[in-house]
Amino acid sequence: MDFNDTPAEAAFRAEARAWLEKNAKPRSSMTPTISGEDLTAEVVKQSQAWQKKKAEAGWACITWPKEYGGRGATPIQNAIWGQEQANFETPPDIFSIGIGMCGPTILTHGTPDQKKRWIPKLVTGEEVWCQLFSEPSAGSDLAGLRTSAVKQGNEWVVNGQKIWTSGAQWCQWGILVVRTDPTVAKHAGLTFFVVDMRSPGIEIRPITQINRGQGFNEVFFTDVRIPDDQRIDAVGNGWAVSITTLMNERMSIGSGMGVGAIEDLVGFASQLEIEGRPALEDRQVRERIAEYIVKARGLKYTSLRTLSALSQGKTPGPEASMSKLVGGILQQHAASFAMELAGASSALLDETAPAAAAWQERYLSLPGLRIAGGTDEILRNIIAERVLGLPPDARADKGLAFKDVPTGPPKRG
């Protein structure tokens, strides 16, 4: 057990830091945001430029194969890069979905031609990607999706609606899972595609979140045509491909939970008073913050354990689900508690109480993080079933053809 870098790791870290020092400014502070914050064309351009710069120097997509523009490096090296990059000001990351979810899916399930066609431009940031999975009536029950694709000649014609698509406006490509056969059981009738987001028949409408952000969109498909060579894996195999994406999504959201901010509560509480005494002298405040920090540190060290497992060649387990589950609830509770400490000022979202306002912003963001990429309830099911080997829930849709699955309350009269 060793927390410190090996000599090789230290050398890699030094190399990374040197490059970053030459190409970016040190970061002053950091606040977690829900993925898909408002973007402007200007921000997108900056983000692409930064990605291109990294790609040219070999710092983009560190673990991906060199032949597609990656560095072919190890997960530990990737983690070291992440730690170092976090110390610098970088433009908002618009590639988290492309690099975190779309790329790994295509690298796992795509043909060599598909990889050559899409991965390099993803690495250089030239093309931005989005994900088209959820539907208004298929959230937790993703496999219950209804958007359909029907084959016509060498093309597929897509109709339906997707939702919760981050950054759809800025994207060249999207990964899309649709129903190609409603007469078989729900998981069996799905197929996975890459769709050109500028195709005719695609309409994008932004969704406003409760924190007033507009990172997400609804995407409507009306007779959108997709060439068959943009199909990933076999017809009817879309569920298996989607699982690859989802596993990567949870790892990506879970690791970005920003639980480091929890320790800021110590500083926050030392600025406030409770009935005339420093808040941090209040034993309840101390104990509560200690409880939060124990969890936050536990998640941090868990991610290091995961990294060690990865570097030993083990497959990442359900730790990502735990990180998102525990981290989401933890941060929401911590934000609520910080607001309580702010007293009457918890009612302000205002520069008069900037530290408190940061926690309030979190309190408004966290409910979204607890839902995106799998609700708490889905994550608990995953842990219960995949880690603890507990039996699956009784399923009302088991063995039914998709078209026969109940979708709403029985009609009256």
Binding site: A344, S346, T352
Partner: protein, 368 residues
């Protein structure tokens, strides 16, 4: 022994509910939340016509002369509707302060206007982020002039009259300030719950009048009374949030069945129901103590306030989670409840204050 509201009180409640259903659907709260108006002026006027602002104001001052149990029922309905009006600060605090501590002249000057809604009252205690102690107040009064800054003041941007906590000769007291006077600067602040407005008020030698006998203990008692009524407002909000959530999860299907059929959701709904019932029972007890001027009021107010604040917040957190993605959209109403729960918990001292008080009060009750 009868631990329930009377039929007359329930009838009054139903009338209030019907009125608010017609005049304050959730879209009314949303209009204020999204728009530039600080509160729903026509609803405020309508409420006054129903006699709500003057519920416990004697008829001689133009009030309805109801009792506190009736006002509790109205508070509950105001809470259910998330009514975007300056009800609590004006009715539960400012009006109460005048009723308890106002001179005949002060009462004649302001109670009729507060009762008929032509004036809005507020209460200005806090001065900075944190949990302010009444003893630590920096605002001062000298020769009838008030100086200092209050932050935040609920409805401070629209109130006509404020009850302000300040020190004179080192002793804390309450002062009546006509906000139309000179030496007063107000600035609206961005609110966590924009359906309810917040402001900062800077007093620079503003004219003020002391309220008689309003010392630190009297302030604590005033907070007690307001806390009981606010607890009803909070429970109203929690009930409504739970009902909306119930309706959603029964109608929303996943995996071929309503999501409400999942124990993960059912059992947490059951827990929320228990939380709210615990809060309701404590609030009933506190309302009884309030209406009967019972010596149990200081303890009962703590119980009611703590339980109601926590029940409302927990319900709104689960409300969003159980709605899933749509619960996190601006378009759905979940966030109106999520915001209001925090806004109401921050008024009048947070649960931390009340928990600490509860132990003090239980000990002194036992010692007595």
């Amino acid at each position: 022994m009868n631990f329930d509201f009377s039929d007359d009180q329930k009838l009054l409640q139903q009338t209030a509910r019907d009125y608010l259903a017609a005049n304050s659907p959730l879209s009314t709260c949303r209009e204020i939340l999204e728009g530039s108006q600080p509160y729903a002026a026509s609803l405020w006027k309508g409420a006054a016509e129903m006699g709500w602002q003057g519920a416990v104001v004697p008829e001689s001052f133009g009030g309805a002369g109801f009792g506190y149990l009736e006002l509790a029922m109205i508070a509950y309905e105001v809470g259910r509707a998330l009514a975007p009006i300056p009800f609590g600060p004006s009715v539960f605090v400012a009006t109460e302060a005048l009723l308890r501590h106002g001179s005949a002249a002060q009462q004649s000057a302001w109670l009729p206007k507060l009762a008929n809604g032509s004036a809005i009252g507020t209460f200005a205690l806090a001065e900075k982020p944190g949990q302010n102690a009444a003893e630590a107040i920096a605002a001062t009064v000298k020769d009838g002039k008030l100086s200092g800054t209050k932050l935040p003041v609920a409805d401070g941007d629209v109130a006509n009259v404020a009850i302000v906590a300040a020190k004179e000769g080192g002793k804390t007291g309450l002062y009546l300030v006509d906000l139309a006077g000179a030496g007063i600067e107000r600035k609206p602040l961005e609110s966590f719950d924009p359906s309810r407005s917040q402001a900062t008020i800077r007093f620079e030698g503003a004219r003020c009048e002391p309220l008689a006998g309003a010392d630190a203990t009297a302030i604590a008692r005033l907070l007690d009374r307001a806390a009981v009524l606010t607890a009803f407002e909070q429970i109203g909000g929690a009930d409504r949030a739970l009902e909306i959530t119930r309706e959603f999860i029964v109608g929303r299907y996943a995996f071929g069945k309503p999501i409400a059929a999942n124990q993960a959701i059912k059992h947490r709904m059951a827990d929320l129901w228990c939380e709210i019932e615990i809060a309701r029972s404590n609030a009933y007890y506190a309302a009884w103590a309030l209406a009967n001027e019972d010596a149990e009021l200081p303890v009962a107010a703590c119980l009611a306030r703590i339980a109601a604040s926590e029940a409302f917040e927990k319900t709104t957190i689960e409300m969003i989670e159980f709605h899933g993605g749509v619960g996190y959209t601006w378009e759905y109403d979940c966030h109106l409840f999520y915001r209001r729960a925090k806004q109401l918990a921050g008024l009048l001292g947070t649960p931390k204050y009340w928990k600490n008080q509860l132990i003090d009060r239980l000990r002194s009750a036992k010692a007595a």
